[in-house]
Symmetry: C2
């Protein structure tokens, strides 16, 4: 198992990334490679007590910033943590790279350096999202492919199914298609055609899922184009933050409310935890020749530790091999 961690990417790099790595090697008995400036990483590591043989450092002089044009940066910044890690991954089996840095650069890097798995039309970025019953669903694609064809959505369903079975532990996962109506004939031309493909395919297809029902969906995998998926993901975050802040402001506007607010503090905290991306690890980029996990930009050590746990499952359950076999079968 070869797990690489971009030590330089993310709002709280390198310290929270390094701390997450230390916590993970202690908790999961796994070996890791931190990629980035050796001196910086060594200094961060020196604060912790941990089994030294479990964490290696792969030196990289620079880092790709969020503001850089992704493909250009991947092509030209050969000494960046991302490119150094990806070049190393190419020589290895069962490698996974976790980064909390630029999403665009990570996806571009995965495509350009590792390449698509044969038979995969468009790799897709998936996200694990909590639902009201305490479970999660996988949303795919969340932004890697803004323009899609129906057959891409069919493949997203296949990628999502494999990931859901092997990393999220679902059996015969239910597949839903995000749409603007429940009936089969609803939607734009893309989803109408995708509906036909999903209904005819080898899926536990549950049909269309309207946006209103997403938080309560019975589906394990929700499929959509990357434009729609990104809207769903970001709007969910935006509305949740808006509601939490709005409720807080409203409570704090009266004395009675303030007292009540103190009494329900623990309940609100517990509820908010449900939305904590950190609980669920990062977003897997599926369909490239290697494991790529995009951790949230604001990841702390806990989120990084969970992304490492997710990477272990990804490798242990042979997700890459299963995607490859499935893609070959589709192409045949």
């Amino acid at each position: 198992m070869n797990i690489f961690l971009d030590a330089m990417g993310g709002d709280h790099a390198p310290h929270e990334i390094v701390k997450g790595a230390v916590d993970a090697v202690k908790e999961y008995d796994v070996s890791l490679t931190l990629v980035g400036q050796r001196s910086v990483i060594e200094e961060a590591l020196s604060q912790y007590d941990y089994p030294k043989d479990k964490i290696k450092i792969l030196h990289a002089q620079t880092v790709i910033e969020n503001t850089e044009e992704p493909a250009m940066a991947i092509r030209h910044k050969s000494d960046s943590s991302l490119v150094v890690a990806l070049e190393e991954m190419k020589t290895l089996e069962n490698a996974v790279l976790i980064s909390a840095g630029s999403t665009g650069a990570l996806l571009a890097g995965g495509l350009l350096k590792l390449g698509r798995i044969k038979g995969i039309k468009r790799p897709a970025l998936a996200a694990t999202i909590p639902k009201s019953d305490g479970g999660v669903f996988l949303l795919i694609d969340t932004g890697a492919n803004a323009d899609c064809r129906p057959e891409y959505l069919e493949q997203f369903a296949q990628l999502g199914k494999i990931y859901s079975e092997n990393v999220l532990g679902k059996t015969n996962p239910g597949i839903g298609l995000i749409n603007i109506g429940a009936e089969a004939k609803k939607g734009n031309s893309l989803v109408k055609a995708a509906y036909e493909l999903l209904a005819a395919g080898d899926f536990n297809f549950l049909g269309n899922v309207e946006a209103r029902d997403i938080p309560e969906t019975k589906a394990d995998v929700l499929v959509c184009d990357g434009f729609t998926g990104n809207i769903v993901l970001k709007l969910t975050e935006g509305i949740a933050a808006y509601m939490i802040n709005g409720i807080k402001t409203s409570i704090m506007s009266s004395t009675k409310g303030k007292v009540g607010g103190m009494l329900i503090k623990d309940n609100l905290k517990q509820f908010k935890k449900q939305f904590d991306y950190a609980e669920y690890g990062g977003a897997p980029f599926l369909g490239v020749k290697g494991g790529i996990i995009k951790a949230h930009g604001s990841s702390d050590a806990f989120a990084i530790k969970n992304a490492i746990r997710q990477s272990i499952k990804f490798v242990e359950n042979d997700v890459l091999k299963k995607i490859t076999e499935n893609a070959n079968k589709m192409e045949a």
Copy 2:
């Protein structure tokens, strides 16, 4: 001014529709026509004391149900409240129809019976949505056009601008384009091309608005294709309901929480009011030769009264004439 009210459409028809009409004629000194089964409407009206000359009844024997195929129903149910109202509107100037019944039938009816204004490529359904600063923005299109071309989005911006100025009282309304990134080059091919048109057009164009920022947007009008708009509208409703229910459940799970919950009840109620569609009237269907307002299916008398107030503004501020002049100018 000719305001028609579909007395038979909606979850609480006819009683709440009739009550909303009675409240409106008392409050706004306006005349209205209720459309539907005369005997049913008369019975509902008999409960109230109001200026009798202000409410007329236009008899229609049947109603189009939500389950009926919209275009088919409009073509064949000539004795339905919708079709009877639309046929009457065709003979009049400055007519508006409000219905809380089938959205599909109302849009199909508007298109088939009233027709598009010359120069309008695709009429669009808009919705007024509250934002965190206490104001509102207009979302257009929310579902009338699942498949769009860039020039439709440009027209939605024009329709939204006119409505926003004349009904929502905004001066030089800011136009935002819903997208998956803030930069000009982001998005799918549709929004990239629409961005160019909006930037070059006669708009106070504020650029792209990411979904995360929608609840806090500075824009007065948010433009998108009908598929995306429907997702945004319905997901906002879904997440808000999910959060309110989740917080309630969490509060009720402990004794301390229950006590606190009682103390913050008023604050929560006040906050929830912000999301109340009923405050903002209905969704205008813009670009057809007549005023069409879709009231929420679950509209009560208060929501209907507000939709009537909205209709008065629509007529008083000559929205139809302004759309027509603008559309002619565009075509010229």
